[in-house]
């Protein structure tokens, strides 16, 4: 084990980033043209980085597995993006925003990074507006805000319920502009299968063209991953079907440390699975909790229809347990409380896996019209999916894996432990600690890509100006390409009895059970066992039809699930080693008498960063966390 150095600049927290920018090395414009940067991912993080690097004049090769850069899963974010503009004059500022994120993350994030995120939030909104993002407006024409995710100020900017889409269209237009200028080469329908590393430095990638099946080699002076989160490992999640960990996991196997992989945020208000066929869970905006009351029947197994259950036989468990915050308790607490009720047999809905979110009282109080004006589109979406009218019958909601705080370990410059390999957006671990605050991740993805990487990557590339691109016929490329080919050949040759989805669903159910909202030593050990067995079974019994040199969506799924089956084990190992409860990581052994998280700052006040080994257990490295700008406190939402 070593202690990791995050290379945090000296000086007071509010000066670190400007100090860094004032002193980092630069690459001049003429040299930038000669340097190639590979960016994997066209979401807000990767797409933003690609556009910004293109503007600077670098030659950018931008890859995504989607058929268009516009489809990255950032597109699905509904709620909004935070920024410390203080337009509402309600006492917001950069420090407060920073403090909220540190506290929300339960003191498991890195102060300097979080402060920088808050600091850069201010400029982000300017950039988005200039791009044409149609944020909500006040009557006078200025920007509107709302409050979001349990903070006391209104700092969330939004574009109806489609904020992510609108931000991404801004990014995508910035990409288009650079494509036209000839500075971004776009490779859609290309999936990264491996990273090429030479003497500890990233020199390129191996990708598969999803149409021809061709395996290609691409070299670069630096590689940036913006490949998003891995919550799809649970199969049922709010992530898109193609979300994967392959790029990050392959980088991990090539030497990049993976940090806090067990920190997964479960969203309390998604739609429940309604049958065995369910392939994904749709998020219902958290804003519904402002007016909806959450309850379950007080008697386990009560299957009367909700309207028939009188108030005296309902358990409004959030209001009962957390009178101060009630239905607005933070995500992790609300999600865990729901799971407790479901596990205790109080679950409702066809699969008894949900709780009620009831608007009866809000409609009685404010009238149907007001509720419709607030949530009309959400009620419509709910009806579209379930066929149920939520004005009449309470909604069914359930917790669902939603966001991964864990990810590739990066230093202050967003560089991983592989030189020249960067990670931005949800695929790194940096800013959300053990629990992300609502509307902070669009922010993080954007500022990583638009503002931070373009500076920090220059600091690295400035010392590489004279170096030519690595030739793609070198032994490292040979080795990585043949590994990718072998994996594919092996997968196709098994011809077993179960489709890929079977393994993905089983893995997801195992993780949900053993390494989900709450974990214990026993469940995690069981999870590790089961995942190992499942992996073994996968390599003997998976059935993939079609070939390697053609479009083959089953093969694409298989290469992703193959990596998930390894990552799942590491998530359990990480959760097992962390003998405390913090944020979204709730270890049953470590709770107060009242059932609240028991954090252990002395023993676990660090980031766990795992190093892969070809044989044997991964090695744990630690980045100690010290807090200078805030006092460490215990969360209390009672």
């Amino acid at each position: 084990m070593t202690m990791l150095d995050a290379k945090i600049p000296n000086g007071p927290i509010e000066k670190k980033w400007s100090e860094y920018q004032a002193t980092c090395s630069l690459v001049n414009a003429a040299n930038r043209k000669r340097m190639t940067v590979i960016v994997i991912g066209s979401g807000l993080a990767g797409g933003g980085a690609a556009a910004a690097l293109g503007e600077l004049g670098y030659h950018v090769k931008l890859f995504c597995f989607h058929d268009s850069t516009r489809r990255a899963h950032s597109v699905a974010a509904q709620g909004g993006v935070n920024a410390a503009k203080n337009y509402q004059n309600d006492g917001d500022n950069v420090y407060r925003m920073f403090y909220d994120a540190i506290k929300g993350g339960d003191y498991r994030s890195r102060e300097a990074n979080v402060y920088r995120m808050a600091e850069l939030s201010v400029r982000l909104i300017d950039t988005c507006v200039a791009q044409g993002v149609p944020f909500a407006r006040e009557y006078g024409g200025s920007l509107g805000n709302r409050s979001f995710g349990g903070v006391q100020v209104e700092r969330t900017f939004y574009a109806q319920g489609q904020t992510g889409q609108q931000l991404l269209m801004g990014t995508n237009s910035a990409i288009a502009r650079q494509v036209k200028a000839g500075r971004i080469e776009r490779f859609s329908r290309h999936e990264m299968l491996d990273l090429v590393v030479k003497n500890g430095r990233a020199i390129g990638v191996i990708v598969r063209d999803a149409i021809t099946g061709e395996i290609e080699r691409h070299a670069a002076h630096a590689v940036v991953l913006g490949t998003g989160g891995y919550a799809k490992i649970y199969y049922l999640s709010t992530m898109a079907m193609g979300c994967n960990a392959t790029a990050a996991w392959k980088a991990h196997k090539r030497g990049a440390f993976l940090a806090n992989p067990s920190f997964v945020q479960v969203h309390p208000t998604s739609l429940p699975a309604l049958g065995k066929h369910q392939s994904k869970l749709t998020l219902m905006s958290e804003s519904l909790r402002n007016d909806g009351r959450i309850w379950v029947p007080a008697r386990a197994g009560d299957d009367r229809s909700p309207e028939k259950i009188p108030d005296s036989e309902r358990d409004y468990y959030l209001e009962r347990k957390y009178p101060a915050f009630g239905n607005l308790t933070p995500r992790d607490i609300a999600a865990r409380a729901a799971k407790e009720q479901i596990d205790a047999g109080h679950g409702v809905g066809p699969m008894r896996n949900a709780v009620f979110l009831d608007f009866r009282d809000a409609i009685a109080q404010h009238g149907r019209e007001t509720i419709q004006s607030r949530y009309g589109n959400l009620f419509g979406m709910y009806q579209k999916i379930t066929g149920i009218d939520a004005y009449v019958t309470p909604m069914l909601i359930a917790p669902s894996p939603h966001f991964t705080m864990g990810g590739l370990w990066v230093d202050y410059e967003l560089m991983t432990t592989i030189e020249g390999l960067y990670a931005c957006g949800e695929c790194n671990f940096a800013d959300h600690g053990s629990n992300r605050l609502g509307a902070n991740s669009l922010l993080q993805a954007c500022v990583d890509g638009y503002f931070i990487l373009p500076s920090t990557i220059g600091n690295f590339l400035s010392s590489r100006i004279k170096e030519p691109l690595s030739p793609t016929d070198g032994p490292e490329f040979d080795q990585a390409e043949s590994k990718a080919r072998e994996d594919i050949q092996k997968l196709l040759s098994i011809k077993g009895r179960q489709p890929v989805d079977y393994f993905h669903r089983t893995l997801g159910a195992t993780l949900w059970d053993c390494c989900g909202i709450s974990r214990s030593r026993e469940s995690l050990n069981r999870g590790i066992e089961q995942i190992r067995e499942l992996r073994e079974q996968f390599w003997n019994d998976v059935n993939i039809t079609g070939g390697a040199h053609e479009p083959n969506s089953e093969l694409e799924k298989a290469t992703r699930v193959m990596d998930f089956l390894e990552l799942g084990e590491l998530m359990c190992i990480d959760a097992l080693h962390r003998e405390e409860s913090c944020g979204a990581h709730f270890r049953e052994e470590y709770q107060t008498k009242e059932g609240e998280s028991l954090r252990n700052d002395e023993g676990f006040g660090y980031v766990s960063a795992w190093q892969h080994r070809a044989e044997g257990e991964p090695i744990l490295h630690k980045e100690p966390l010290s807090f200078e700008a805030v006092n460490v406190m215990t969360r209390n939402y009672k």
Binding site: R137, M169, S173, A176, S188, H277, S279, T282, G387, I544
Partner: protein, 247 residues
């Protein structure tokens, strides 16, 4: 429920395709349309056959990946819905459902129900943006935009780039898609600077890609999952004429 499906199968852009019959006897009314296809694919895998290829990702109507022609209508029978948001409760037990790809010469078929919509990206590349540098933006509230303008721009910007408008059009015109971007930007003060070059370049690119001309049948609006209005096309035409006349 039981379903009789006729699904377009085609190996590649240059091979002939045909409708093939499939039977599914355990569909659930709560399934989404794509989950129903997952079930068909699972049968195929169990029989050792290659699966039906189709694009999809978010499965919640926002990424624009999915899209197929269902019983002759792009995205199927539900109003204002993408294919992934369509549920089997919209069909009856025993129904016959015909499923085909989005057809247009500018959208070559890749395989089965998967088509190449990269022409849309090239239309955006040609000018569908505001030429602003990321770090060069003025203070956001220095640009005041009325609620109406913002919401008008939003209505257009909500396009998900699925291509149903093209598939529904007898001319395979991309006018609705292109106009949505043109009007999104021109309705905002910051988008007005480049209004003339933008609209001309985008319309030219649309023609270059081989999309047909718009003859205003309004079929596109009827199938658009985001219910983008054909008024945007009218506005685009106006913008185009304005640019050409130099007013």
């Amino acid at each position: 429920m039981e379903l009789n499906l006729r699904i377009w199968r085609q190996d590649g852009p240059d091979t002939p395709g045909q409708l093939v019959d499939y039977h599914l006897d355990n569909a659930d009314p709560g399934m989404s349309f794509l989950e129903m296809l997952d079930a068909v694919n699972e049968q195929l895998i169990n029989n050792g056959e290659r699966v039906i290829e189709f694009d999809h990702d978010c499965r919640e109507g926002i990424c624009g990946s999915c899209g197929m022609v269902i019983n002759g209508r792009p995205h199927g029978p539900a109003q204002g819905s993408s294919t992934c948001q369509l549920h089997m409760r919209s069909f009856q037990n025993g129904d016959q459902i015909t499923i085909e790809p989005f057809r247009a010469s500018a959208f070559p078929i890749i395989r089965d129900l998967k088509v190449d919509r990269s022409a849309f990206d090239r239309i955006i590349d040609s000018g569908g943006y505001i030429s602003t540098n990321i770090a060069a933006a003025p203070e956001a509230n220095s640009i005041l935009i009325s609620k109406d303008e913002a919401s008008h721009a939003f209505d257009a910007a909500a396009c998900i780039g699925c291509g149903a408008c093209v598939a529904s059009c007898k001319n395979a015109s991309a006018a609705l898609f292109t106009s949505a971007k043109v009007t999104h930007l021109v309705n905002l003060p910051q988008g007005k600077v480049e209004r003339s070059t933008r609209v001309v370049q985008m319309v030219n690119q649309m023609d270059t890609e081989g999309f047909g001309a718009c003859s205003f049948t309004e079929a596109c609006e009827a199938v658009c999952p985001q219910q983008i209005s054909v008024n945007h096309i009218a506005q685009m035409n106006w913008e185009y004429n304005r640019a050409k006349l130099g007013i």
